[in-house]
Amino acid sequence: MSGFDKVVTRYEDAMAGLRDDMTVIAGGFGLCGIPEGLIAQIKTMGTKGLTVVSNNCGVDGFGLGILLEDKQIKKMMSSYVGENALFEKQLLAGELEVELTPQGTLAEKMRAGGAGIPAFFTATGYGTPVGDGKDVRYFDGRPYILEESVTGDFAIVKAWKADRYGNCVYRHTAQNFNPMAATAGKITVVEVEEIVEPGELEPSQIHTPGIYVDRVIKGTFEKRIERKVTSEEGQ
């Protein structure tokens, strides 16, 4: 089944084809479940003018935040972009554009993009700045706004394990936006902690079927924690 073997070993190959002004959809929530090595590769490549669709934009010096350092990002579509002084600076200087999108709408836009749904109605954002200029329609007497789906030239995804065919499983809350991102890229690249052989993952327990995945690379992860909070045993 060589035609289904999606493993690449070099990050240059993992991100080959990424060009200036492309759109990249990235999984992750805060710094949890982010494709660290793929982001680093984009920084290395120096690709400019990127539109990045991701719930957040990392922090100063880590995650997607490192793509701000050389002004590689033209526009972010996110639900929350705090935690990042450089982001703020570029935004205020007009060097960076941001399209704030409610978190659930963002997740649904990615899912819809991957699932051939060009647009859907949601109550989220009606009557708020998010709804400005969008079509409104009533269902059962309640107003909803029309939101369009999003797709990317690339999707970059962090999974826990993948087999060679690209079937992925995610670990704990590092799942977050990753499964939807995986469906929405013309080229979907998954960075994983472990590559296993086909058949090792239970078919019914696969989160992302390999059909969505074009390339798989094994990474090493720092997994930085944004807010470490602990309690005493038994509390």
């Binding site: 929530f29 805060g30 409610p102 978190q103 709408t105 997740a107 700045p129 977050n176």
Partner: protein
């Protein structure tokens, strides 16, 4: 006397019923988890994809792959489930979460809420708040009744950009518990020692006071 943050959280927690699924925003709402009454079990939904949020981890349990919507390290409680963000917001938007508790800058008599954007200040984003107010069965707003300058936050009509419209049904402040219905605030309870007159004075929108208003029961 006005309630403390902890006392507001205590009063919020009295709303929960045994078997409630609850999403708690950052700040006072999060504290409510500490005051759930005996005999009442709630399951906490964290919108990054965790139903059954548990306590904070011990040092040994800390796991970067296990965080809550506030990006804090957490644990999963027994019987928890973990899923992707589309499922998490399907759950929220589809009305499956029983209670959402969140803070606000302003609310108004039509159940509108403004909680995410102050023009002229840098906007960091709405996160999941717009989805939560559009979806939950019961939305409880917790906040101080007035801002630090003494201006009421319970308005006739919100002045800030909205988070959601016609969605707030209950407000729990440091002074009072109020329902929002039919274009007015309905006073239900007073904080211990706080008079109806003081609440009236600090409520900018139409306030309906019907009959005797009991004091809240706060331990």
């Amino acid at each position: 006397m006005a309630l403390t943050r902890e006392q507001i959280a205590m009063r919020v927690a009295q709303e929960f019923q045994d078997g409630s699924y609850v999403n708690l925003g950052i700040g006072i709402p999060t504290l409510a988890a500490n005051y759930v009454p005996d005999g009442v079990d709630v399951m906490l939904q964290s919108e990054n994809g965790l139903l059954g949020m548990g306590r904070y981890p011990t040092e040994a349990e800390v796991d970067a792959d296990m965080i809550n919507a506030g990006k804090e390290t957490v644990t999963a409680s027994v019987g928890a489930s973990i899923f992707d963000s589309a499922e998490s917001f399907g759950m929220i938007r589809g009305g499956h979460v029983d209670f959402t508790v969140l803070g606000a800058f302003e609310v108004d008599v039509n159940g509108n809420i403004a909680s995410w954007m102050i023009p002229g200040k840098l906007v960091k984003g709405m996160g999941g708040a717009m989805d939560l107010v559009a979806g939950a069965k019961n939305i409880i707003v917790t906040m101080t009744h007035a801002d630090k300058h003494g201006n009421s936050k319970l308005l006739q009509s919100c002045t800030l950009p909205l988070t959601g419209v016609n969605c707030i049904t209950q407000i729990i402040t440091d002074l009072a518990v109020l329902d929002v219905a039919d274009g007015a605030y309905h006073l239900r309870e007073r904080a211990p020692g706080v008079t109806v007159e003081e609440i009236q004075e600090k409520t900018a929108g139409t306030l309906i006071v019907d009959g005797d208003i009991p004091e809240m029961k706060i331990k």
